[in-house]
């Protein structure tokens, strides 16, 4: 019952074909059986989930439905503050992050009826692209143990892909939703900057952080986004724009849509199977009626550098206390990345912020005026082996991390929505992925294009052993 979509599970619960308690028990059974090896969860709140599921079933029996997620179990990256549960943010400290109120995104899903199953593993302080974590265990790729799940929302990616839960939340500062979604063969959406409130979630970089859904289907991502999005007085950066119905029109297809494929940069040095899969996907969307436009785009590297510098400075400010008081608790690479931020002057930080503003306007005017969406690979290679990114010198890991996130980070800097959708499997059986990027606050078109590809290609998975 938990192998399908959130939508189908919610429908089954609504008509009482299955109960919320049964759905929660099915998840807990899978977690108990598979998570000791996968390491996707940091906290499983079995007691709380069972209690809430019973309440949801009782409400349903009394004719009360809270919302579209009534009784559906979900889990959240362990940087979302939820009253009564610890929030480690992937550190050694169980209660590393305490907020004044529950994470707004989680609270909105809960108000729509979701049942919290627990908190998901992540890279320490969300600083890591591969999903390794020395404190809570390296999250394993469900498609192949010993390979990366992608990070930093590693547990979210692995848990959804392995069918432990039907959906999850992640956060994305340089690709942290899209990288694990791509590595694990699921859907991950980084919305427009300001579309979803970050209140109640640990910050890594105020300028680049985004909260978004990680699901098995594009429709589920649209469903969760619609429930989470919208202004929040607790997050001054959240937009006051009206939230559209992201499911309305999502199945309308791509006829007439202008889909851009970069001629330069985004396929440079990319694994041949990844590049071929994304080009084939674009061609298929062309056969389905989209107008494919090959176009030249600005070099993303300067934007990546500037976005990375902003993130380093802001993360150093946010997490200065643990660096100052308990540096020995941090993994060496995490500590090093935080320490770098202390070395940047205020002058250079402000110049970086000014550059980002100009480059965002330029990209929107030069690229997103020509096409409705842009497609590109999400990851430059299938998920690497964990040993290749953990048992090597720090310099090498940092270089590979920069390379691995080089196709996702630009869209954090630009603030535009970016959806990662599965794009088949490599010859070695690891997921491939395509990124669909759109205009600011035009998640509806991004989701429509992603859904068209999903319908054309069919769903990926489940991974072996699920």
């Amino acid at each position: 019952m938990i192998d399908g979509s959130i939508e189908s599970l919610a429908a089954d619960i609504r008509v009482r074909r299955v109960s919320s308690v049964e759905a929660v028990e099915a998840c807990l059974e899978r977690i108990g059986r598979r998570d000791p090896a996968l390491r996707a969860f940091i906290t499983v709140d079995a007691e709380g989930a069972r209690r809430t599921a019973k309440e949801r079933d009782a409400e349903l029996a009394a004719g009360r439905i809270r919302g579209p997620l009534h009784g559906v179990p979900l889990a959240y990256k362990d940087l979302c503050h939820i009253r009564g549960l610890p929030t480690s943010c992937g550190t050694r400290t169980a209660e590393y992050f305490v907020a004044e109120r529950d994470c707004t995104a989680v609270a909105r899903l809960t108000a729509a009826g979701a049942v919290t199953l627990g908190k998901l593993n992540m890279a320490e302080l969300a600083l890591g692209a591969f999903g390794d974590n020395a404190h809570h265990g390296h999250v394993q790729n469900p498609w192949r143990p010993g390979h990366c799940s992608g990070g930093s929302s590693s547990g979210s990616g692995a848990a959804v892909a392995a069918r432990l839960i039907p959906g999850a939340l992640g956060s994305d500062t340089g690709g942290s939703i899209r990288l694990p979604a791509a590595c694990c063969g699921i859907v991950g959406l980084k919305p427009t900057y300001g579309r979803v409130s970050r209140a109640g979630a640990m910050a890594l970089s105020w300028s680049n952080d985004h909260i978004g859904p990680m699901t098995r289907t594009v429709r589920d991502a649209a469903l969760l986004l619609g429930l989470m999005a919208g202004h929040d007085a607790a997050d001054a950066t959240s937009s006051r724009r009206r939230v559209p119905d992201y499911l309305a029109g999502i199945d309308d297809g791509v006829a007439g849509l202008r889909i851009g494929v970069p001629e330069n940069h985004y396929f440079d040095g990319v694994d041949a199977e990844v590049a071929a899969a994304v080009r084939a996907a674009a061609a298929r969307l062309g056969e389905d009626g989209a107008r494919i436009v090959e176009l030249r785009v600005p070099d993303p590297q300067p934007l990546n550098d500037v976005t990375g510098l902003i993130s380093r400075v802001e993360s150093s400010a946010i997490h200065a206390r643990i660096v100052r008081e308990r540096p020995h608790e941090l993994q060496p690479l995490v500590r090093r990345r935080l320490e770098t931020g202390f070395l940047v002057s205020a002058h250079d930080y402000l110049q970086a912020l000014r550059l980002r503003a100009r480059w965002a306007r330029d990209f929107i005017a030069r690229v997103l005026a020509e096409v409705d969406v842009l497609v590109a690979p999400t990851i430059p290679e299938p998920a690497p082996a964990l040993a290749d990114v953990t048992d090597v010198p720090a310099e090498q890991v940092l270089r590979r991390m920069g390379s691995f996130s080089r196709l996702t980070r630009p869209f954090n800097g630009l603030g535009v929505p970016a959806l990662s959708v599965p794009c088949g499997l490599s010859s070695s059986g690891l997921p491939l992925a395509m990124q669909v990027v759109g205009r600011p606050f035009d998640e509806a078109t991004v989701l429509r294009a992603g859904r068209a590809w999903e319908r054309a290609s069919g769903l990926v998975g489940p991974p072996p052993g699920s």
Partner: protein, 50 residues
């Protein structure tokens, strides 16, 4: 606090900051960080009234 002075980190940063200085050289006086959010709002699709 006293930051750690790892020579390889310092070299990486020096190169990056040098590049930022070059890119920022022709920024207009009117450019400010808040224009980022304005660019996103300004390029958003029209809000439907339905």
């Amino acid at each position: 606090m006293e930051p750690r002075r790892d020579p390889s980190v310092a070299a990486e940063l020096a190169s990056l900051i040098g590049a930022i200085e070059r890119w920022a050289a022709d920024l207009s006086l009117a450019e400010e960080p808040s224009r980022f959010a304005a660019a996103l709002e300004g390029a958003a699709p029209p809000e439907s009234t339905s």
